[in-house]
């Protein structure tokens, strides 16, 4: 019955749909455009003469015989050795996600089950660190790293990323564990489990949704990071994002901006699929802290 009364007037509905269409174009069009353009030559991607060139690829056809070319990708992946960065990103992301989830799960669980006052302060400190720009911390890391001669390699970067990521993971898993009723592990304790057994046999089986969501966000952080990785990694250990920035530095001179375009598209593709498959978890993670707070 409510729907009948609540039906929108025609004008408002039209306005709504119009707005949605405008927003969708604003949100998605840049990606489609860049994806389409990445198969063209630079003169088409940046078409001075006629913007329809970018759609039909006339100059690409003149150069390569077809309106689509993989030249940009070839240049980026083979000539620019982008595959190296891809592997590095994979390594960094994998280890960052694994280690921050391990620490975060255990820590978040313990924090949520302990009623002491200092847990509050620990969480507040975590919140402050979450707000800190990573780059302010980086300047603190660099000098000691040079001293110990561990600058530029992957393990140190992974440790730094885990440390930067930890407050967030802790905060998120803490609020997740608080939603799991205490009675669950208390009854396990009554039945004779130790605290750890209660965690292992009772909590672990029900914690996966929260862990997956948190893991996704850790992954995004490690994947998207530019400030830390560009400062702490040397040239051959670069991950994708600093590698793209480096492409830009050199490509403006050589007129091979298409390398960077192709690299950008390659780096966006995994994110695209990530959002597609884990949309629900991402939405849940974004709203989790908010709706409760």
């Amino acid at each position: 019955m409510a729907s009948g009364v609540n039906r929108q007037p025609f004008g408002l509905r039209l306005l709504t749909y119009g707005f949605i269409v405008v927003w969708l174009i604003a949100a998605a069009f840049p990606f489609l455009w860049t994806f389409w353009g990445s198969f063209k030559v630079e003169l088409d991607f940046f078409s001075i003469a006629d913007w329809t060139n970018a759609i039909f690829g006339r100059r690409t056809e003149m150069t390569y015989g077809t309106p689509f070319t993989m030249a940009g990708y070839e240049g980026a992946w083979v000539q620019g050795e982008f595959w190296r960065s891809v592997i590095n990103t994979g390594i960094v992301c994998f280890f960052v996600v694994c280690s921050s989830l391990t620490i975060g799960t255990l820590g978040g669980y313990a924090l949520s089950r302990s009623g002491y006052r200092y847990t509050f302060w620990l969480l507040i400190i975590a919140l402050i660190f979450r707000a800190m720009p990573p780059i302010t911390l980086v300047s603190g890391y660099m000098l000691p790293f040079f001293e110990w001669n561990v600058w530029g390699i992957l393990p140190t970067t992974i440790i730094v990323l885990v440390a930067i990521n930890q407050p967030f993971t802790l905060w998120m898993l803490h609020s997740f564990f608080q939603n799991i009723p205490k009675e669950l592990d208390e009854s396990a304790r009554v039945d004779g489990c130790t605290q750890f057994q209660a965690f292992r046999h009772v909590i672990v089986p029900v914690m996966w949704p929260g862990v997956i969501t948190t893991g996704l966000f850790s992954f995004l952080l490690a994947y998207n990071d530019f400030a830390v990785t560009s400062m702490l990694l040397n040239e051959e250990n670069r991950t994708m994002i600093p590698a793209i920035a480096a492409f830009l530095g050199s490509t403006y001179n050589e007129g091979q901006i298409m390398f960077a375009v192709a690299a950008v598209v390659s780096a966006t593709a995994p994110l695209f699929f990530l959002v597609m498959f884990f949309q629900r978890q991402i939405v849940a993670g974004l709203t989790q802290g908010a709706v409760k707070g």
């Binding site: 409510a2 929108q8 408002l12 709504t16 707005f19 949605i20 927003w23 604003a26 949100a27 998605a28 840049p30 990606f31 455009w33 860049t34 940046f46 078409s47 001075i48 913007w51 620490i103 255990l106 820590g107 302990s114 507040i124 400190i125 919140l127 660190f129 707000a131 800190m132 720009p133 780059i135 302010t136 911390l137 300047s139 603190g140 890391y141 660099m142 000098l143 001293e147 440390a163 930890q166 407050p167 995004l220 998207n224 530019f226 400030a227 400062m231 793209i244 950008v264 780096a267 966006t268 994110l271 695209f272 959002v275 949309q279 991402i282 939405v283 709203t287 908010a290 709706v291 707070g293």
Partner: protein, 326 residues
């Protein structure tokens, strides 16, 4: 069990404390981070290296770096104040100091992007909420894209489009009717494009949060309002918006902090000449041939202070919540 939590946090604390200590007590081996620096190194390599090995953190100079031209620059500010006749002139000379220039952009960016993005997010949430169920998933998927994509990549994609040879830049040239028109040429327009990027990037976050909030709307209240004869607009104004208000504060605060550390778009837009931010200053000091650790650390501490000021309302609120729960 507590060890498991305490250890990483303590390590985070220790590591991050490095920055303030490094900045407050320390200066890079040779000098102030101005041009005198380089001279000294070239003259006395041997002694420098010895000194460097003896004291890796450097010489103790107290607050000198905070007051030099690159940072707070009180002396220069006072000088400018004395010499300029009116506020406009004072402002111009203030904008020549890197710290204040960065501060001006950071604050402008933060305080323009945050409210606009909240409003845009709210409107999108309302619009999507009234869509058909099957369409919603698709729209949410595309809406999330600008937010999940790497900031640097997102800004690069937009930057290529607004390039005067890119499609948007081309369209603008056509609209303005001036073939030499370029967004990159003027400071004001560059700021506008950075701000547009900021809103584009952050609006999905606000949208998703508000959308989730709309799902928990109190239907009874809305019905009651309708029975009392409230128009659609009044329902939104007096029932829905107050219901979403806590979320608005939450989103606004998170975004204040995030926008305050704006950094990647400046690199992506190649906008260093027109707009710098505090984070960018740190990045710039750390990179390149001369790694000016002390200068960067000082900027870091100043940024941290700024973040803390912005964060204080959240902290107070969390503290109150916690106390009430007890």
């Amino acid at each position: 069990m507590l060890l498991f939590i305490a250890a990483p946090i303590v390590s985070v604390v220790l590591q991050s404390l490095h920055t303030p200590h490094g900045a407050v007590l320390v200066e890079a081996e040779t000098c102030t981070p101005l041009s005198g620096c380089i001279l000294e190194t070239t003259i006395d390599q041997e002694a420098t290296r010895e000194l460097r090995e003896a004291e890796p953190l450097g010489r103790l100079v107290g607050f000198d770096i905070y007051l030099d031209r690159g940072h707070l620059a009180f002396a220069e500010v006072a000088e400018a104040w004395r010499q300029s006749d009116d506020l406009g002139e004072f402002w111009t000379s203030l904008m020549n100091l890197p710290f204040y220039r960065a501060m001006a952009f950071t604050l402008t960016f933060t305080f323009i992007v945050t409210p606009l993005m909240v409003i845009l997010g709210l409107v999108i949430a309302f619009a999507v909420n009234s869509l058909h169920r099957h369409l919603k998933g698709l729209v949410i998927f595309f809406s999330l894209l600008p937010f999940t994509v790497t900031p640097l990549i997102g800004s690069l994609i937009l930057f290529w489009m607004i390039d005067s040879r890119g499609i948007l830049g081309d369209a603008l040239v056509y609209l303005v009717g001036d073939p030499s028109f370029s967004l990159k040429a003027s400071t004001g327009l560059m700021w506008v494009s950075l701000i547009v990027y900021g809103i584009w990037h952050a609006a999905p976050f606000a949208f998703v949060v508000f959308y989730a909030g709309l799902q928990t709307l109190p239907m009874e209240q809305i019905e009651a309002a309708r029975i009392d004869g409230a128009t659609r607009w009044q329902q939104v104004r007096y029932v829905v918006v107050p219901h979403l208000m806590p979320l608005v504060t939450f989103v606004a605060l998170i975004q204040l902090m995030d926008n305050f550390r704006v950094f990647e778009p400046i690199v992506g837009f190649n906008a260093e000449a027109h707009a710098t931010s505090l984070s960018w200053i740190i990045f710039n000091d750390l990179g390149g041939e001369t790694r000016q650790f002390s200068a960067a650390a000082t900027s870091s501490v100043l940024t941290i202070i700024g973040v803390t000021i912005l964060l204080s309302p959240v902290l107070v609120r969390t503290w109150r919540d916690f106390r009430d729960k007890k």
